[in-house]
């Protein structure tokens, strides 16, 4: 896990007067799923396209497998697979032909290629649709085909740029499970998304980007520690006649309390049995409620604290 697969140093990409990527540096290690998290327009895709040498970047350096990445670094490209945000397949070819075509750009041997294509079809579970044309597939199946086209040649390094956009929950789970299997089979994965749940679910390490800069990095747990909130309790009140926020703020470990409509939200900076103390207070005050929930902080909370806005703003 200590071998560096990607080394990005001081990467800058400017579009006329806009700095889309602003001097970012990070390393990606072998056999990890590396998450690049950030809202739309934060510079994730630009970073990926720069790493892949599709985009001319303004300054900085990019090394993959210890070598400088250039447009004609064919030996490096052989070990890289990319799944783009847009579905990149030919409508004129069937599912099988699409995977075979793209796999054929990497593997000359027909028998080996056939084996790889079948493996990719199995990995994303589209065996029943091999003779279908892309236009005959649902959005989720199309995304799975898109992934199969990018990984059929069994690359050592895989870039997935928002592969689950506009995908149904079943296909999303299928895709995420497939990504974990790829990592378990030895691939290093760079995963960009603006869905924090996905990052939490599959990524070993995460970099959070905003406005072209890295604002935080680490494991999901390390990032969550950046948030002041350790627990958040939400209570749906039967009626909101009485404002209890003042009394609640006096409780131990309470960082903040707010009432919006009939939803009371209480944030804690630590402590144990917080929910029991809150229930006691509500009972003492004679306040009835429908439900009460306790949540651990999410990456969205981290992002909110670091930038003052939601990830999906």
């Amino acid at each position: 896990m200590d071998t560096k697969v990607i080394e990005v140093k001081e990467l800058v990409k400017e579009y006329k007067q806009i700095r889309a990527v602003d001097g970012i540096s990070f390393d990606v290690y072998e056999k990890e799923i590396f998450g690049l998290l950030g809202p739309n327009g934060s510079g994730k895709s630009t970073t990926i396209n720069s790493i892949l040498s599709l985009l001319k970047y303004s300054s900085g350096s990019i090394r993959i497998f210890g070598k400088e990445m250039t447009p004609d670094a064919y030996d490096l490209k052989r070990d890289i697979g990319v799944i783009f945000q847009e579905v990149a397949v030919f409508n004129e070819l069937t599912v099988y032909q699409n995977i075979d075509y793209f796999c054929g750009l990497y593997i000359k041997d027909k028998k080996e290629r056939k084996r790889c294509v079948e493996d990719a079809i199995g990995l994303v579970s589209i065996g029943d649709f091999r003779k279908f044309y892309p236009k005959q597939l649902s959005g989720g199946l199309l995304r799975r085909l898109n992934i199969a086209c990018g990984i059929a040649h069994k690359p050592k390094l895989i870039f997935l740029d928002e592969p689950t956009v506009a995908v149904d929950p079943q296909s999303r789970n299928n895709i995420l499970e497939g990504i974990k299997r790829l990592r378990d089979n030895g691939a290093t994965i760079v995963y960009t998304t603006h869905y924090m749940e996905e990052v939490e679910q599959i990524c070993d390490r995460i970099v959070i980007m905003d406005k072209g800069k890295i604002i935080a990095s680490g494991t999901a747990d390390e990032l969550k520690k950046l948030a002041k909130t350790e627990e958040k309790i939400m209570v749906e009140l039967k009626n909101a006649d009485k404002d209890l926020t003042g009394d609640i703020r006096s409780l131990v470990h309470v960082a903040d309390a707010s009432l919006e409509g009939r939803t009371l939200t209480v944030s804690y900076d630590g402590g144990t049995h917080n929910i029991a103390r809150l229930i006691d207070l509500l009972r003492e005050q004679g306040v009835s409620y429908y439900s009460i929930n306790s949540e651990r902080p999410t990456l969205n909370d981290v992002f909110l604290e670091l930038t003052g806005k939601e990830l999906r703003d």
């Binding site: 001319k56 490209k77 579905v87």
Partner: protein, 391 residues
């Protein structure tokens, strides 16, 4: 890798219904439409002789120019008139009975035409007699001038009839008329077929442009996927272009088979030269498509519009929508058709068919080869920049 790209490029083209229609089916449909629309035009240009009557009296017989001219116009397979020589009463009856378009009677040495109604035949009849009248006056003037000069020179034994006949032959005879010295007569339909072949050649640009778009990262997502693969660009592009050329050859073969065996177009004895010109024309079309794909930095649909506009403008300047335009361009702005591949193709075909000129044909063949080389060089220089400013 080349074979892999070649085979899949064929699949991509043949699987694209729009592409198949415009490059393979459309020229065939146009050929059939041209055949249906124009093949009868030339046949119908031959007019049926017009039935007329001439009042055959002393006044008519004394007018040598008219008697001889009408005799000529009323005989042979290509005669203009079926002439009935009769008296005035019968001529009027024939006109009333609808047997003739009109009749002519001579009074004071001038023809008086009587027709039943207005129409094309009546107009033609009047025009022909007007023309004879003009010619007659010319002959009379020239003849009188000749007689005056003979009289002045002291000659007294003048054979007036022979003199006028001699002058008439000079003015109206074959010696002073236009003669056709070309190997074959200009056929309007053949010009259209040549333009169609040129258009079919240039439409090959659609094939190469579509495939090139699949290789360019800044145009399509599949282009991005192809660009990040270890497959070298040269291998991908050469496979695509060879496949485009294969499909184009198939399309051209279909077009020629249709034109020769179904439409019965007459390509003479120079089919190998015509095929060579078509192959070079197709190469020019293919390289033009590549150049538009590489150099024009807009989306796929806009590129298609640009390419079709260039081809259609080329067809227009080369005379596809009317041969007059080609003549106007050749006369006023010859540079346009010297760089216009459509004009190079059509002009090469004209050179073979109408002018029998090897030199002119060769110039067009070389021009097409140079055009293709220039397009390819420009495209390659554009392709060398493999990283993009934006995607």
């Amino acid at each position: 890798m080349f074979i892999h790209n070649y085979l899949y490029s064929l699949r991509l083209m043949l699987g694209n219904k729009q592409l198949v229609f415009w490059t393979l089916a459309f020229p065939l449909i146009m050929a059939m439409l041209f055949n249906m629309a124009f093949s009868n035009i030339e046949k119908s240009e031959k007019l049926d002789p017009i039935d007329i009557a001439v009042v055959d009296d002393s006044s008519f017989r004394s007018n040598m120019i008219y008697t001889e001219t009408l005799e000529t116009l009323g005989k042979g397979d290509d005669r203009i008139f079926n002439i009935t020589y009769t008296d005035a009463g019968k001529a009027e009856k024939m006109l009333r009975d609808g047997e003739i378009t009109g009749f002519v009677r001579f009074e004071d040495n001038e023809p008086r035409i009587t027709v039943r109604s207005n129409g094309i035949n009546e107009t033609i009849m009047c025009s022909v007699f007007d023309e004879i009248g003009s010619e007659s006056k010319l002959i009379m003037n020239v003849g009188m001038t000749e007689i005056m000069s003979l009289v002045k020179s002291g000659k007294t034994d003048i054979d007036y009839q022979s003199l006028f006949k001699e002058e008439a032959e000079k003015i109206m005879g074959d010696d002073t008329g236009l003669t056709d010295t070309s190997p074959k007569n200009m056929s309007f339909v053949m010009i259209e077929y040549y333009s169609l072949i040129a258009m079919a050649c240039m439409y090959s640009g659609l094939l190469s442009m579509t495939l090139m778009n699949y290789r360019l990262a800044n145009i399509s997502p599949v282009g991005r996927r192809s660009t990040i693969s270890p497959s070298k660009r040269l291998s991908q592009i050469s496979g695509s272009l060879t496949a485009s050329f294969t499909v184009q050859l198939f399309g051209l073969a279909m077009l020629y088979l249709l034109l020769i065996f179904v439409v019965r177009a007459d390509f003479g004895t120079k089919l190998p030269e015509i095929i060579l010109l078509s192959l070079l024309g197709s190469l020019a079309g293919l390289t033009l498509g590549v150049a538009v794909a590489v150099l024009v930095k807009i989306n796929e649909n806009a590129k298609l519009t640009v390419l079709l506009s260039v081809v259609m403008a080329g067809c227009f300047f080369a005379g596809m929508m009317g041969i007059t335009m080609k003549n106007i361009i050749d006369k006023n702005a010859p540079f346009i058709n010297r760089i216009n591949p459509v004009a190079m193709i059509t002009d090469g075909l004209y050179a073979l068919y109408y002018y029998d000129s090897g030199e002119r044909y060769l110039i067009n063949v070389i021009s097409l080869a140079v055009f293709s080389a220039v397009m390819m060089l420009i495209s390659v220089s554009g392709l060398r920049r493999q990283r993009y400013d934006s995607l």
